[in-house]
């Protein structure tokens, strides 16, 4: 299979996930979706399932009560009967309510019955880390599930990987936890169309290098690519490995890379990766293994920091990182006489918006609450009001371009 021969289309992570679901529903009548708010007109909390119930029917895209244990339990029961359920847990933090079903039932069915029953469900969920919803809507809990025998854990980062691995997960004979990253939903890239799958347990080198290996996954991929670019300035050639699936883990790819590069820097949660390396006694050869990971803290809420939000393309991502982490994102610059005009966070899961154009000329006097420009997200199109009275100064922005939530479009010079 060569990528060049496939029909591809440029799309976002959001569109790639939606396409994978559409392809799976079309490919096999046993496939169905079950979860909260999936059906039209809601089309999912992040708009990922928009259009699917209209196209495939309400008996294929099932809206449930807010009952996470029942969602996963019902998926398990249907899977035991030979159906292929794709369950959605809206936000990863809510998976805590469904863990009994996942850990004690889905993961154990095949073993406890000696193969007489299986529960090959796919559980799609998304971490909302970085979207400002606080400590119970921001967690990345994948490391927990890596420790459960019988569960597979997949956490891709790019549109092509999301689509290929979601299709593979849906038709995989074992239960798979498929974790999406909402902060990456705006990332765009070329995606093969049709039922093109990527096998589980195969890592992908997102940037080849010779001096150091950075092993990562999910949102960490784009931070690692950024870090690699920074290292390049210092003459260090870093290799970035995107694990893509955490269970099964591509130990061969990790070991092959670190045999070449020696030092290893890991950007992840949990201990499995380091153990894989330690067991092979590579640590002492050329350099130490280092972990770069989230602090052992709860996540604060209300103040979106842009941390981890990414737009742009998979090849050339535009990521917010920690640029604004020390600065309240309420539009007010206290150090000067200007107020920042920033892309508003119009929905809970919003990462980016399309700037549709200014309603007011550069240099014009505006009043507070006067509409000054228009933006669109997947959910809404709105005219945005000025955050203050003063002179509007347009920033270096272009119409019909995507900008991250919090991106400065211009400023208001106040009197």
């Amino acid at each position: 299979m060569t990528a060049q021969l496939l029909d591809t289309k440029k799309m976002s992570n959001r569109e790639a996930i939606s396409l994978a679901l559409d392809v799976a529903l079309s490919a096999d009548p046993r496939v169905f979706m079950i979860g909260e708010d999936l059906a039209d007109p809601a089309g999912g909390v992040s708009g990922l399932t928009k259009g699917l119930s209209t196209k495939h029917g309400l008996d294929r895209v099932l809206d449930t009560p807010i009952s996470e244990a029942a969602i996963i339990g019902a998926a398990i029961g249907a899977a035991m009967e030979g159906m292929i359920p794709v369950a959605e847990i809206m936000i990863m933090d809510f998976i805590t309510i469904a863990t009994d079903q996942m850990i004690n039932h889905a993961a154990k069915a095949r073993f406890m019955s000696n193969g007489r029953t299986t529960a090959p469900i796919t559980i799609r969920t998304s971490t909302f880390a970085g979207l400002g919803s606080g400590a119970t809507h921001s967690q990345s809990l994948e490391a927990w599930f890596m420790h459960i025998p019988g569960l597979k854990v997949v956490m891709p980062s790019t549109p092509a990987d999301l689509k290929g691995l979601l299709l593979e997960s849906i038709f995989d004979p074992d239960p798979v936890l498929f974790i999406e990253t909402s902060a990456l939903h705006a990332i765009k890239g070329e995606v093969p169309l049709g039922d093109v799958r990527i096998p589980l347990g195969v890592a992908d080198i997102k940037r080849p290098g010779n001096d150091v290996t950075i092993i990562t996954y999910g949102a960490g991929v784009f931070r690692a690519l950024d870090a690699a670019a920074a290292l390049e300035v210092d003459g260090i050639d870093a290799e970035v490995i995107d694990l893509r699936t955490l269970v099964p883990l591509d130990r061969d790819a990790i070991l092959a890379s670190v045999r070449r590069t020696g030092p290893c820097r890991r950007h992840a949660h949990g201990h499995r990766v380091r153990r894989a390396r330690s067991r092979d006694r590579l640590d002492h050869q050329r350099g130490a293994v280092q972990r770069v990971e989230g602090a052992r803290r709860a996540t604060r809420g209300a103040v979106p920091t842009q941390s981890g939000l990414c737009a742009g393309t998979a090849d050339a991502p535009l990521c917010g990182h920690d640029r604004r982490s020390s600065q309240a994102n309420d539009g007010v610059h206290t150090m000067s006489n200007t107020v920042s005009v920033q892309v508003p966070k119009l929905t809970m899961a919003a990462v980016e918006a399309v700037f549709l154009g200014w309603l007011v000329e550069d240099g014009a006097q505006v009043t507070a609450q006067q509409p000054i420009y228009t933006v669109a997200t997947d959910k809404v199109e709105v005219e945005v009001e000025s955050p203050a009275a003063g002179i509007l100064r347009h920033g270096d922005v272009e119409e019909d371009e995507d900008y991250l939530v919090g991106h400065e479009l211009g400023v208001i010079e106040i009197d």
């Binding site: 339990g73 019902a74 249907a78 009967e81 193969g115 883990l249």
Partner: protein, 334 residues
């Protein structure tokens, strides 16, 4: 002899009910005897006293109808038609068991006889039963799903989530609460405000009622009606089957929390003894015919134990099997 009672079911059904009860009891008693004497070591959650419920369920269901039960479910498995060898083999962790000895007492599975899941997690079987019923609907089958649980399970979130989903989707699930009045070791009055568990169904606008779970004929009539409803698209039913548990939460539990007079009265009303007396009282059955059923059950259990003990235990290597499809552990953390 004088006919003192009449059958509420056909003679054939009555015979099945009695046979099921006796077979359920024979397995439970044989296992308790074997554990007590040191013949084998295992853990069971005895079902003695609750036999009438699965006897009726088994008689009212088709083989392809599904069942989900719990760790106190040996009687349910027998009633559903799971072979004794597979049940005892699993309880004793031997290869002859339904899962080759890897599941244990708490996890007996026999899809060929419709037993899709035995769960050790209180309440957790309820949402899975709803999924089995969803599968039946999606596959355009008229099979129904029975889910067994105790009074204690009705205090879990999973139970309520599953009840609500079955009701709102009008699925063919028959919820059977085997109310033995004690949630593990705590009396029901200390765990719920309502005095009758079936009232939980009212909150879901689901058909619900209480039955004497120690009367196999009343139980059969109730289950048959629920099965009919489920098969014909009439939706779920909640049956509270009032019963009692003679041997504690687990084998070895002395039931110190059950007043002696309450236990004595329950044993006085042993459902098997009562039903045997009734059957003879109707004039439809003779002592000799019922003795024959008793003897056949005892012989069946003895034969099953022999087969099980001769079948050996699973190897350590079996523990790596059936974890993932095709036993493929590449990339799986050790």
């Amino acid at each position: 002899m004088t006919v003192t009672e009449t059958l509420a079911v056909s003679r054939d059904v009555a015979r099945t009910l009695y046979t099921n009860m006796v077979r359920e009891c024979a397995v439970d008693e044989r296992l308790r005897r074997g554990i007590a004497s040191g013949e084998f070591m295992t853990v069971i959650w005895p079902s003695r006293g609750q036999e009438a419920i699965p006897a009726a369920v088994g008689a009212a269901l088709r083989q392809d109808d599904r069942m989900v039960t719990t760790y106190r479910g040996l009687h349910d498995s027998i009633g559903k038609g799971v072979p004794m060898t597979e049940i005892i083999g699993e309880v004793l962790g031997r290869r002859a068991g339904a899962s080759g000895g890897k599941g244990g007492t708490m996890h007996i599975t026999d899809p060929e006889h419709g037993l899709m899941l035995t769960t050790g997690i209180v309440g957790a079987g309820v949402p899975i039963a709803v999924g089995l019923a969803l599968g039946a609907r999606q596959q355009k089958s008229d099979r129904v799903v029975v889910v067994n649980f105790g009074d204690g399970a009705t205090n879990t979130g999973s139970f309520h989530e599953g009840m609500n989903l079955a009701a709102v989707w009008n699925l063919p699930v028959i919820f059977i609460c085997q109310n033995n009045l004690y949630a593990e070791m705590t009396p029901i009055a200390a765990t719920m405000k309502i005095d009758e568990v079936w009232k939980r169904a009212l909150g879901y606008d689901m058909v619900g009622f209480r039955v004497d779970g120690n009367d196999p004929e009343a139980m059969y009539v109730a289950v048959a009606e629920a099965v009919e409803r489920g098969r014909n698209g009439g939706g779920p039913t909640f049956i509270e089957a009032l019963t009692f548990r003679f041997n504690g939460h687990y084998f070895g539990d002395k039931s110190a929390y059950i007043p002696a007079e309450e236990m004595a009265e329950a044993i006085e009303n042993d459902p098997i003894v009562k039903y045997r007396t009734k059957l003879i009282g109707t004039g439809e059955f003779t002592e000799a015919e019922l003795d024959e059923i008793d003897a056949a059950a005892a012989a069946e259990v003895d034969e099953a134990v022999k087969t099980v003990m001769a079948s050996g235990v699973p190897d350590a290597s079996d523990l790596d099997k059936d974890l993932f499809d095709g036993d493929n552990l590449k990339g799986i953390p050790a």
